[in-house]
């Protein structure tokens, strides 16, 4: 597991971060991050690839525990990327570990799997997200956006490459 790149959001915040020119020499990718929004409510992250923000090219699903209930839901062709990693503007940063397997294989549509969650001492949630990018293109860049507001200062994202034997 090799570090490819790291981004830390500075003061002022940003609405998205992009990892470009992703090396094509690994087998899998893993994106790790902690993020907080600057908006006045709960929001979520959106993951897109190769600058493709056509909503009909993406589906996503989630399995969520809120501390009292378990729910499952979906976004099918309605988000300009994969909606995942619900985050807040509170003091708690949402945490995510996201896996993209076989990201260079041009015979596969790309499937995302992500464990995310946050706790705010009385509220919070834990999630298993999935997403489908309806493209066989190799992933050469990925962008993580926040659906409303900006990523707050201190939000960080790290991209790793994973090799196989």
């Amino acid at each position: 597991m090799y570090p490819i790149a790291t981004t830390t959001v500075g003061s002022g915040g940003v609405s998205s971060i992009t990892f470009s020119s992703i090396p094509q020499t690994f087998t899998h990718l893993q994106l790790r991050g902690t993020a907080q929004s600057t908006g006045g409510g709960n929001t979520y992250c959106v993951l897109s690839f190769n600058s493709d923000t056509t909503s009909s090219h993406y589906n996503d699903h989630y399995l969520t525990g809120t501390g009292s209930t378990v729910v499952s839901g979906a976004d099918v062709g309605t988000v300009p990327g994969m909606a995942y990693n619900n985050i807040t503007y509170t003091t708690s940063f949402g945490v995510q570990i996201t896996d993209l397997l076989d990201y260079t294989n041009t015979n596969k549509y790309k499937t995302m799997r992500s464990i995310t969650g946050y706790d705010a001492n009385g509220s919070g949630q834990v999630n298993l997200h999935s997403g489908l990018w309806l493209s066989t293109s190799a992933i050469t860049s990925l962008t993580v956006s926040v659906a409303s507001g900006n990523f707050a200062s201190g939000s960080t994202f790290q991209l790793y490459g994973i090799t196989t034997a």
Binding site: T27, N59, H61, A74, L101, N107, L128, T164
Partner: protein
């Protein structure tokens, strides 16, 4: 060389498919194992297929598991006891899933050389792009292998069909500090 996640073995299914994928002679020098699976089978009619997993060729009733599954509209938790295999990994299936879609899962097997019973945890996603099957399954599963034998081999077989070309199974060893 990374020692955090050491690549051990990889199987990529070739043209013609494969009924079973097996990792054998797993080194006993790591503390934990991680397996990443991207899979699809030729199961007819359906959009997904369960992959049966066994350790050490053991098909006795030494497996049990607890599941939390979501299908995009509802969630359910269930349990299977004293059965002959794990079903902790999934694949998309030719019968209904959109072409080129494959599952995505990771299975974590701590203390696989221990003389205690072995636990496994798995998170898996199946995105089929087919509305009649709920498009997707997201599942978290915990399993118990009630055997004191160290894990030296792992096998997967599709319940409803054989594994398609490009299915990929990647095995990693995890080292603890000091080794």
């Amino acid at each position: 060389m990374s020692v955090f996640l050491q690549p051990l073995q990889t199987v990529t299914v070739g043209s013609g498919g494969a009924s079973t994928v097996t990792f054998t002679s797993i080194p006993q020098t790591y503390t934990d194992l991680v397996v990443m699976v991207s899979a699809r089978t030729n199961r007819a009619t359906y959009a997904l297929d369960e992959l049966v997993m066994t350790f050490n060729g053991n098909s006795s009733s030494v497996y049990s598991q607890t599941n939390l599954d979501g299908n995009g509209s509802s969630a359910v938790s269930g349990r299977i006891t004293s059965t002959t295999q794990f079903t902790t990994t999934f694949a998309t299936a030719d019968g209904a899933a959109t072409s080129n879609t494959f599952s995505n899962s990771t299975q974590y097997i701590p203390n696989y050389t221990s003389s205690n019973y072995k636990q496994i945890i798995s998170d898996a996603t199946i995105e089929s792009n087919v509305s009649s099957f709920g498009y997707a399954i997201n599942t978290l599963r915990a399993g118990l292998f009630s055997s004191t034998a160290p894990i030296t081999s792992i096998s997967w077989t599709g319940i409803g069909g054989q594994l398609d070309q490009y299915s990929k199974f990647s095995l990693y060893g995890v080292l603890r500090q000091g080794i």
